[in-house]
Amino acid sequence: MHLNADIRGVILKKISNTEYVLDIAKNSVIHESIGLIFPATDSCSIQLTIKIGENALASVIEKFDADTDRNIDYKLTVQADKNSQLKVITLQNLTPKSTFNESRSTDVKAGGRVHFLNFQLGAKSAKGVIYQKASGTSGDLNVDLLCRAKGDQNYDFDVTNSYDAKNGQGKIFVKGIALGQSRLKMNGAIKITRKGGGTDTYLKQDSLLLSDQARVSATPGLNINTNDVKASHGASITNLSDELLFYLNSRGINKNEARKMMMTGFAAEQIDKISDMPEVKNYILTNL
């Protein structure tokens, strides 16, 4: 694995053939995105630790796409120091026979912020566990996960934000679009321990079911162990209704176009969050 460019304040250390550490130095403010290039082998198992120092700010882009079938096993650990801000953008668009397994865990110190923007578009089977923990006060944990499953794709994702210190914040937005005979399973959870007083957080899981053969399940959980908190969650499962289809048809928009419009509109909230990266945004819109 290597970086797309040399960036000052950023060092990728190779620990072994499968283990790497990405160091982002204290106080560095990196405006350009750090691109991770993964090895082009059929099977790849990578463990990466991102250490972002105090007051540092950075964005990392992970892109998993290839013309050949791949089996990827990826484990990411993030250590976010005080008042650091890290954005990790993931684009997974592997071939329909590939498999993708990811596990992400973060530990956020006081005033730190980690934001995962995770777009899952490809692979036959994609599984992921995202577990974020705020161990310092005012930790800000955010996850935006967008899954678009079609054909016989099978997606299974589990997202948890855990607050173990005062005044935590952040949101989880999980959106799933199911087409074809796909299966989409999405679990979300917010945990607030007894030490997590003053936390204000939200979990939202929305699914768009666009095929009579597709299946969706969602489990949005709350585990709250103290009272001085605001925690809520919402989940919805919707479809392209006959009324809406009729309305669009009557205006000359056919079913396929209507479906595309519905999907783009549904995903807009998350895609808009990367509007400062037009190339990434276009990539998602083209492949949605």
Binding site: A218, L222, T226, N227, G234
Partner: protein, 477 residues
């Protein structure tokens, strides 16, 4: 038939004098010495023989007993591993009258006294069309307005129904909740005793509610009453259950079962206020099957028990059927209220709504656990789930665990849950107007649960509010 069924308006709310002592009061229970603790095949044969049951019911009990040996305890939810079947008395009766007493005057004095303290006969006079009362394992009293009897309504002890209406009981008994459903359904199937049988024939609309009150009195008691309700096509009814037991500091088990069959176009409401003592494991199973255009409404309040695991379930089988679940759970010190709702959408154009409110206080844990499944056949299903939780102090816990699954692309599902605490500004506003803090908190809590309580008949809403006030006592410390 019914000697206490004289209508008059009570001067003050029936349950206004309820206190914790009312529920914790216990009668002498010398009769319990005659009955052994623990679960065995001999006991099951004894129960069946004592009730003079037909062979098919004994065979059913034996089958259920075999399931107990093979089905493990649930691996999810609260820890119930301390529940020791050898310490539970699975069957006991305080009176020997088969099928209960026909007149309230005939009920033995000590049993009558218990129910009078709980306000049951007075409630019957004021608001109910019929009343049942169960003490330990057997029903002691059942009554029904003559007008309803004439219309073919049957409201009796299920033990009586097994003899008097065998064809109906055999057709429906444990068809909705089979004995191999889970461990406690198997226990229930083996040792069930007493309970209620309600049958409302086609087109009959029973406007006033019917009620049963279940009371466990002796120490280490187990109560396994079975409620079987059959509402035929286009019929309507409302049934209320109340439950309580005194506190001993030693475990008791309640594993009742409620089965409701709602016919085509029929409408039924089931309300319950459970207030078992803190020693009780309340592991109850409640399920309804709703046919075409039928409506089922569940209204429930869970205040008591040490551990509650209760998830009323609606199976929306017929096209156009609907269900509405309303529930309140209050988890106080050393209580786990693991409650929720299950809805299975199977027919086309079905709709469901779940509204749950929970309160946690003094280290108590309230859990909303729900299942919402839309089957492939359930075109155009609509469901709305709303859960609100109030945590009243930093030591208490609230969990929300909903499971939502859609196998049909025409489904529309919405789920929302919120967890928070009492608003300091609201408390400040009330205390600045001279209302003591404790009372202010109780007022806000009553407001929080009001959308559900107001669905209960007035007298029961008063009882529910009174119970909440009892739970809120000493909340400022």
């Amino acid at each position: 038939m019914n000697t206490i069924n004289q209508k008059h308006q009570p001067a003050k709310p029936i349950f206004s004098d309820l206190s914790r002592e009312t529920f914790d009061h216990k009668n002498q229970s010398d009769y319990i010495k005659k009955f052994r603790k623990g679960l065995s095949k001999d006991l099951i044969e004894f129960i069946s023989k004592d009730k003079d049951e037909p062979d098919w019911m004994l065979a059913h009990r034996i089958r259920a007993y075999d399931y107990i040996q093979t089905i493990p305890l649930p691996k999810w939810g609260p820890d119930i591993s301390h529940l020791n079947f050898d310490e539970i008395c699975f069957f006991a009766k305080a009176a020997d009258k088969k099928g209960g007493y026909e007149s309230w005057e005939e009920v033995p004095q000590d049993i009558k006294y218990t129910f009078e303290r709980l306000g049951i006969p007075e409630a019957e006079r004021a608001v109910l069309a019929g009343v049942g009362a169960q003490y330990e394992s057997e029903a002691i009293y059942h009554s029904l307005e003559k007008e309803l009897t004439d219309q073919g309504v049957i409201f009796c002890d299920l033990d009586v129904a097994v003899h008097d209406h065998p064809e109906l009981v055999k057709k429906y008994f444990m068809k909705c909740v089979p004995a191999n459903d889970h461990k406690f359904a198997a226990v229930h199937g083996a040792v069930w005793s007493g309970g209620t049988f309600l049958y409302i024939p086609k087109g009959v609309k029973v406007e006033k509610p019917l009620q049963s009150y279940f009371r466990m009195n002796a120490m280490n008691m187990g109560q396994f009453e079975h409620t079987l309700i059959i509402i035929e096509d286009d019929a309507e009814g409302h049934y209320i259950e109340g439950c309580s037991a005194p506190k001993y500091g030693s475990q008791a088990l309640h594993a009742g079962c409620v089965e409701i069959f709602v016919g085509e176009g029929a409408k039924f409401r089931y309300s319950s206020v459970e207030n078992w003592s803190r020693d009780t494991y309340n592991l109850n199973t409640k399920r309804a099957v709703i046919e075409k255009d039928g409506t089922m409404e569940w209204v429930g309040g869970n205040m008591g028990s040490g551990v509650t695991m209760l998830y009323p379930c609606s199976i929306l089988k017929g096209d156009g059927s609907s269900s509405d679940h309303l529930g309140i759970a209050f988890a106080n010190t050393r209580q786990i209220q693991d409650t929720g709702a299950k809805v299975y959408h199977i027919g086309k154009n079905t709709s469901s709504r779940i509204t749950m409110k929970s309160l946690s206080k003094g280290g108590g844990q309230s859990v909303y656990r729900g299942v919402l499944h839309v089957a492939k056949s359930a075109d155009n299903a609509i469901s709305q789930v709303e859960c609100d939780a109030l945590i009243l102090d930093p030591e208490s816990i609230s969990d929300t665990i909903p499971d939502i699954k859609a196998d049909n692309h025409t489904a529309t599902i919405n789920h929302e849950a919120r967890v928070g605490r009492l608003n300091e500004e609201d408390i400040f506003y009330l205390t600045s107007r001279g209302i003591p803090k404790e009372q202010a908190e109780a007022m806000i809590v009553n407001g929080f649960i009001n959308p559900i309580v107001r669905e209960l008949p007035l007298e029961y809403a008063v009882e529910m509010n009174r119970l909440i006030e009892l739970e809120m006592e000493n909340s400022v410390g």
